[in-house]
Point group: C4
Chain length 281, copies 4
Amino acid sequence: MNSLEHHGEYKYFGNIRRRLFVIIFGTDTRSGRIFDIVLLTIIILSIIAVMLESVKDFDEMFEKELEVLEWFFTILFTFEYIARLFTSHQPRRYAFSFLGIIDFLALLPTYLSLFVTGTQFLIVIRAIRLLRVFRILKLSRYLGEAQILASALKSSRNKISVFLVAVISLVIILGTVMYMVEGGENGFTSIPRSIYWAIVTITTVGYGDIAPQTILGQSIASVLMLTGYAIIAVPTGIVTSEITAANSRRKEKVEKICHSCGIGNHDEDAHYCKNCGEELL
Amino acid sequence: MNSLEHHGEYKYFGNIRRRLFVIIFGTDTRSGRIFDIVLLTIIILSIIAVMLESVKDFDEMFEKELEVLEWFFTILFTFEYIARLFTSHQPRRYAFSFLGIIDFLALLPTYLSLFVTGTQFLIVIRAIRLLRVFRILKLSRYLGEAQILASALKSSRNKISVFLVAVISLVIILGTVMYMVEGGENGFTSIPRSIYWAIVTITTVGYGDIAPQTILGQSIASVLMLTGYAIIAVPTGIVTSEITAANSRRKEKVEKICHSCGIGNHDEDAHYCKNCGEELL
Amino acid sequence: MNSLEHHGEYKYFGNIRRRLFVIIFGTDTRSGRIFDIVLLTIIILSIIAVMLESVKDFDEMFEKELEVLEWFFTILFTFEYIARLFTSHQPRRYAFSFLGIIDFLALLPTYLSLFVTGTQFLIVIRAIRLLRVFRILKLSRYLGEAQILASALKSSRNKISVFLVAVISLVIILGTVMYMVEGGENGFTSIPRSIYWAIVTITTVGYGDIAPQTILGQSIASVLMLTGYAIIAVPTGIVTSEITAANSRRKEKVEKICHSCGIGNHDEDAHYCKNCGEELL
Amino acid sequence: MNSLEHHGEYKYFGNIRRRLFVIIFGTDTRSGRIFDIVLLTIIILSIIAVMLESVKDFDEMFEKELEVLEWFFTILFTFEYIARLFTSHQPRRYAFSFLGIIDFLALLPTYLSLFVTGTQFLIVIRAIRLLRVFRILKLSRYLGEAQILASALKSSRNKISVFLVAVISLVIILGTVMYMVEGGENGFTSIPRSIYWAIVTITTVGYGDIAPQTILGQSIASVLMLTGYAIIAVPTGIVTSEITAANSRRKEKVEKICHSCGIGNHDEDAHYCKNCGEELL
C-alpha cells in the first residue's frame, strides 16, 4: 500500500512535471508559447532595470524600487531555473548545456552582490538569454539559418585566424613605428597606446582621440588606411565565399534520398546513389 | 432627359478624368513625362525650402517668403492629391497604397502647424516622394533591379535577424563591462551610454565623443573592434550571396531549352543547341 | 623643283614626325618606354611642387623657386602637348579624346593664374594624368582588368542608383528628425547640417564634430548605425556579384571558336556552334 | 688516422647537428613541438618587454630589469640564430629566406642601440616572427588556407592596383579642391594635409581632427563619402570574387572522375558514379 501510495504520488507529480515540461520547454503548444513570450518580456524588463540603475539621476530617485525589482526578477528566474531542473528528463544535461549555464550565470550576480559590491551589473549576462527569442519565432527555420551562418564561420575559421595573426603583426610594427615618429607630445605616449591607435585606424573606427600631427606620421597613417581599405576586403571575401558555399551545399543536399540504403545528400543531377550504386527514383 | 443630361455631363467629366489620368499616372506619353518631371522638380524645391527654413540666418532674412512658399507648395500638392483621387479608377486602393499614404502624409505637417508648432519640419517626409524619380527613367528596368534587391533582402531577412540579435546581445554585455571598467569619469556615465558607445564602435562609426582611456578599456575596445572587423563581413556575405542567387535566378527564368535533347543553359544569343546542334526556337 | 624640295622637306619632317610619334605614343620600343617613365616622373614632380607651394613655411622660403619650377613644368607640358598634336595622325581625335582633354586642362591653370589669382592649385588636375602609369606597365593586361571593373560597375549602375536614391531619402528624413530631437545647442544647428551628420554616420565615417547628446538622439543614431551596417552590405553585394559575373563571362568566352562561321564565345561544354550548328572541334 | 679522427669528430658533431635540426626545424616530433612553443612564448615575452619599456611609469620603476631582459632575450635569439645556421643543410638558403632575414633583423636593433640611441624599439620586428605560430598548429592545413588567400590576393593584384591609382588621383584632386574651398582657418592648412583628410574620409576612418565647416565643404565631403561608400565595394568585390574562384579551383583539384563514363563533379564521399552507377576508384 505504501508503495502504491508512493506510486500514486509519483504519478501525480509526474503529471505536473509533464505538464510543466510542456509549458517550459515546449514551443508548439499555446501555453508553451505564452510562457516563452512572458519569459522574454521579463528578461527584457530585468535588463532595462539594470540599465536604469546605472543612470545616476534615475537611480537617485528610484533606488529602493530598483533594488526591489532586481530581487523580484532574480527570485523569479531562480524559480524558473529550479523548475527547468525539476522537469527536465536529463537535469544534468540541461545544467551543463550552453543555455543552462547561461541561465545559472544570470542568477549569480544578484546573490553575489550581497557579499561583493559592484557585481550587480554583471546581471546583463541575461542579454544572452535574449537568444531565446528564436524559440518564439518559427524555431527550426531560424536554426537552419543559424546553422548556415555557423557552418560558414566554421569553415572560414582557419583563413580568418591566418588573417588575424597577419593583422596583429602589422599593427604591432606600425604602432611602434608611429610611437617613434610621433612621440608622446602628439598623444602616442607609449607603444601599447600606439598599437591601440593602429587598431582603431585599420578597422576604420577612427575615434580621433589620438591622431598623427607630423607630416611623416600622417603619410604612414595614410598608407595604413589605404592598406586597411584593401585588407577589410579579405574577411568579407572569406565569409561571403563560405556563406555562398554553405547556402548551395544546403540547397543541393536536401532532396534525393536513396530508397535502398537510405543515404541522402545526392546532387540534383545524380541518377544513381553515390553510396550503393542503386538507381535513384 | 435629366438622366441623359447627367450622362452627357458624366461623359464630359469622364473625358477630362481620362485625360488627367493619363497625365498624372501615365509615364509613356509626352504629357505624362512632363508632369512627372515638373512634379519631381517641385518636390525637390519644397524640400529645399524646408531645409532653408531651418538655417537661422536664412530664415531671419526670408521668413515671410519661405512661409508663403511652404503654403504654396502644400496647396499645390493638395490639388495634386485630390486630382489623383478623382482620376484613379480605384480611389480607395490608391489612397491605401504605399505611395498614396506617403502623398497624404506629406500634406499633413503644414496643416498641422496651424495648431501645433514645430511640426512643419516633418514635411521632409516628402523626401520619400523622390522615389517617383524612377517613373521618369525607364521605369520597368529599374523595377526589375529593385525587385532583385528586394528579393535578395527578403531571403536574407532571417539570417540578418539572427545576426542582429547576436550583435545586440554582444553590445549590451560589452557596453556594461566597459561601464564597469572605465566608469563615469571617462565618459561612460551609464550603461545605456556605454551601449551607445559599443554600437558606435562595432559599426566602425567611431565618433570619438566617448573613447576608452584606461589600458584595460582600450584592450577590450581593441578586441571589440577586431571582432567587429570580422563581424561586418557577415551581413555583407549574407546579402552578397543572396544578390548573386537572385541575379542567377532571374537569368535562369529567361533560359532557352532545346526541344530535341532537353538541355538548357544556352546563351541568350544562341541559335543552335550546344549539345546536339538542333536549332533553338 | 620647288615641289621636289618641298617633298624632301615633307619627307624629312615626316621622318622626324614618325620617330617622335613612336617615342611619344609608342610603348613597345625602348625610347617609347623611357619617354613614358620620364613623363610620369615629371608629372609627379610637378604635382609635388604644387603641393609644397600650399605649405606655408615652405612657400615663404622658396616662393621664387617654386614659381620658376611651375612655369618650367608648364612650358615643358605645353611643348609635349604641341608635339602630341603635331605627331598624331588624327590631331583632332586626340584633342577631343579623354586623355587629350586632360592634357589640355592640365596646362590651363598656370596661364590662367596670370589673369586670375588663386587658380594655380587647379594644376592638380595633372593627377589624372597619372593614369598614364598603366602605359608603362604591360598596358593590355591592365586594360583587361580595368574593363572587367568598368563592365561590372556599368552592370551595377542601375542597382546602385536605386540604392542611392533610397539612402538619400533615408538621410534627409533622419537628418530632419535629429534636427528636431537634438536641436541647435547640440550641434544640429540646421537641417542641411543634420543631413550632413546623417551621411557622416551612415557611411560609418563618424568625424565626431557633431554627435548626439540626448538619450533619444543617441537611440535614433544607434538604429541608424545598425541600419547602415546592414545597408553597407548592399552596394558591396551588388558590385561583388557583378565582378564575379564579369570575371566568369570573360573566362568562359575566350576559348572555343567555330571554324565554320568564325563565331567565338561558346560555353566550355559546347559541342556544336551556337550560331551555325557546325560541330566544334 | 688524422682523417679518421676527423671523420669520427665529424660523425659526432653530425649526430648533434641532426638532433638539433630535428628539434629546431622539425614540427612532427614532440621535442620539435616543445621547442616551437617555448620559442613563441619567448618571442611574445620579448615583445611585451619592449612595449612596457615604452610606458613611462613602468620604465622608470623597472628600467634596469627591462634592459637586462632585453639583452637576455637578444642573446638567446642570437644563439638560436647561430644554431639554425649551424644545423641547416643549406645555411645560405636559410640566411636569405624570408624567415631567415626576419630572424636576423630581429637581432640587430639591440646591438645597434649600443651605438645609436632610440633604435631599440625596432625590436618589434620580432612581431613578424609570430607567424611561426602556424608551425605549432597543424602547419600544412594553415599553409593551404594561406595559399588560397595568397593566390586570391595575387590574382586580384592587377585589379587592385588599377583601383588604387584611381583612388589616389581622386584623393589628390578632391584634397586640393577642399583646400581651396575650406582654407587654413578650418584646418585645411595645406594641400598635403587636405589630401590626408580626403584619405581619412574616403576610407571611412574619419578621425575628426580635420572636418569641413563651410556648407560647400560639407556638401563636397558628403559626395566624397557617398562615393567612398560605393567605392569600398570595389576591392571587396574583387577579393571576394577571387577567393571564391581560388576556393573552387582547389576543390576541383581533388575531384573524382568516373573511369567508365568520364563524368566528374562527384562528392568527396561518393563511392559510385552518380551518372552511370559504376564504382569509383
